[in-house]
């Protein structure tokens, strides 16, 4: 029943041409939760977000959001789906020719016929919720990385979506901005009744705010559970990832030819 799971991914496979990215992915995300998707760089985490938002279509399998199959939606269906969705990009993706106010007002002006006075109040409310009401007149180039992401978050929740997707929201932030952003995600999820999906590498910050974690490795779900469960896991990959250990199933070296072949060893090179 759609009431239990907002996002339901079943037997998902995805490939860019011949290169397989995701295989046999099954995951469900419950309403009102903050869910983290973790894994090494290039493991397919962001691809999962793109599949949920309908920017990519799976090679096979199903992506259901609110009981509706995103991968089978036509252009109008996708537009309806995306109006109920907020996406926060890695570096905010604010429109650089618009002020902070106009960035947050953008989805309201594009999708509603609300009078400008009401849009003004709504925008200031959204900016207030991320602590940046006072910055409404600034341009994006005047913001720090953390502030830009908070403005992007205000823009992402401008239309009161049910689901918000965060792509690496903690990358490149100083410790204070990192904690502020993490707490903000948790607080907005609880107060606005959102469901948040956070793609991240940041173990320490994410485990403080999420309800459930999925670990992706080699294109598969390697493990999942609550933060407590994953902290005490016996799974080698998850243990290595959480504690940042050098030795483990995740290799430092990218697969390639043998050392002998690449350095010409054993051929009597002078």
């Amino acid at each position: 029943m759609p009431g239990d799971h907002l996002v339901d991914i079943r037997n998902l496979e995805f490939a860019y041409g011949a290169r397989k990215i995701l295989t046999g992915i099954n995951m469900t995300m419950e309403r009102g939760q903050v869910v983290a998707i973790m894994g090494g760089s290039g493991c397919g985490k962001t691809t999962l977000l793109k599949l949920i938002s309908g920017m990519l279509r799976p090679t096979s399998g199903e992506v259901l959001v609110n009981g509706e199959a995103v991968h089978r939606m036509d252009t109008d269906g996708l537009a309806r789906h995306r109006r109920k969705l907020g996406v926060l990009f890695q570096f905010g993706a604010l429109f650089t020719d618009l002020s902070v106010f106009d960035n947050v007002a953008f989805p309201l002006r594009e999708h509603t016929d609300l009078p400008e006075e009401l849009i003004r109040d709504l925008v200031l409310l959204k900016l207030h919720s991320v602590g940046l009401r006072g910055a409404h007149a600034l341009m994006p180039h005047q913001l720090s990385g953390g502030m830009a992401r908070r403005v992007a978050l205000a823009r992402a929740i401008a239309l009161d979506p049910g689901l918000v997707l965060f792509d690496e929201p903690f990358t490149g932030l100083d410790p204070i901005s990192l904690t502020v952003t993490g707490n903000l995600i948790r607080r907005l999820t609880d107060t606005l009744g959102l469901t948040s999906v956070v793609v991240t590498h940041d173990v320490a910050e994410s485990l403080k705010i999420v309800d459930r974690v999925f670990f992706v490795a080699d294109g598969r779900i390697a493990a999942s559970g609550t933060p407590d469960e994953v902290r005490h896991t016996t799974d080698d990959f998850v243990h290595q990832f959480i504690y940042g250990e050098e030795d483990g199933p995740m290799r430092f070296h990218f697969p390639g030819g043998s050392m002998q072949a690449d350095f010409g060893l054993g051929r009597g090179r002078a």
Binding site: S53, M55, L78, A79, R80, R82, R83, L85, V87, F89, Q90, F91, A93, L94, F95, T96, F106, P107, E110, H111, A152
Partner: protein, 264 residues
């Protein structure tokens, strides 16, 4: 012996296939822009802002270049015409050269360098910084919201800039021919008025510049939208816009001139 030859042929073949594929892709993009241009007309303010971006910001280079081209035409034209005792025809020479050829062509080349490259860079950077993707996931079509207004802004700006270029050029020719050299004022203007036909010369010049405007706008928006999302990708796309636009303008000019001004 045969292997390098075959490899050469295969390389040329690959280039031809890639070029044809890209031309088809660009044509499809162009048709898509036209198809999704509704928003540009229902919210004309978006286009007006792009007319400012492409047209108004190009005014300085167009006016200064037009003035100098007109002055050079005045100087060179006088030097030639005076040998045949027809210096009074200077006005006709300057006006016809500008209105038929130099106005549309030179202003289009300048427009491609100034505004075309700026359009490509803006759209390319919006893509590289995920602004177009952000729009897409907000259920806002980037082709309708960003590309369409840029395209129509450039198409509207081009004939206006070309007309201004020609007008300023005629003034430059007047400054050199009449004010500096001393060609008869009345002869300069009256011969020009008698020789320049509105439909045949001025209107055809405007049509030419409109066609160049469509070409530059289509190339600039396509290159920006198709640019790889890296610094190198955007810089390469900007260069391609200027080079491809210049070649397209010169080729189209030859074809249009052949249709408009020959056999009469």
């Amino acid at each position: 012996m045969l292997k390098p030859l075959l490899s050469g042929f295969s390389h040329i073949g690959r280039q031809v296939i890639d070029g044809t594929w890209r031309l088809g892709y660009a044509t499809r993009f162009f048709l898509l822009v036209l198809l999704r241009s509704g928003l540009s007309f229902t919210r004309f303010g978006l286009v007006v802002r792009k007319v400012y971006f492409s047209g108004v910001l190009s005014l300085i280079i167009i006016i200064v270049s037009g003035l100098f081209v007109g002055m050079v035409l005045g100087l060179q034209g006088y030097e030639t015409l005076v040998r045949y005792g027809s210096a009074e025809a200077l006005g006709t020479l300057v006006a016809l050269s500008l209105v038929r050829e130099l106005g549309p062509v030179v202003s289009a080349l300048l427009f491609a360098s100034r505004a075309g490259s700026a359009i490509t860079a803006e759209i390319g950077l919006m893509k590289a910084t995920e602004q177009l993707s952000a729009m897409e996931v907000m259920a806002v079509d980037p082709i309708a919201r960003v590309v369409g207004p840029h395209f129509w802004g450039a198409v509207i700006s081009m004939p206006l800039l070309a007309s201004l270029f020609s007008a300023v050029g005629v003034f430059g020719g007047y400054l050199i021919g009449v004010v500096l050299i001393g060609v008869d004022d009345g002869a300069f203007w009256s011969q020009m008025q008698a020789a320049v036909d509105f439909r045949h010369d001025i209107l055809n010049g405007i049509i030419k510049s409109a066609v160049f405007g469509v070409a530059v706008a289509a190339i600039a928006t396509f290159e920006g939208y198709d640019a790889p999302p890296t610094a190198e990708g955007v810089s390469g796309a900007t260069t391609r816009t200027v080079v491809t636009s210049a070649l397209a303008i010169l080729a189209l000019d030859f074809v249009l001139t052949a249709f408009m001004f020959t056999g009469q």
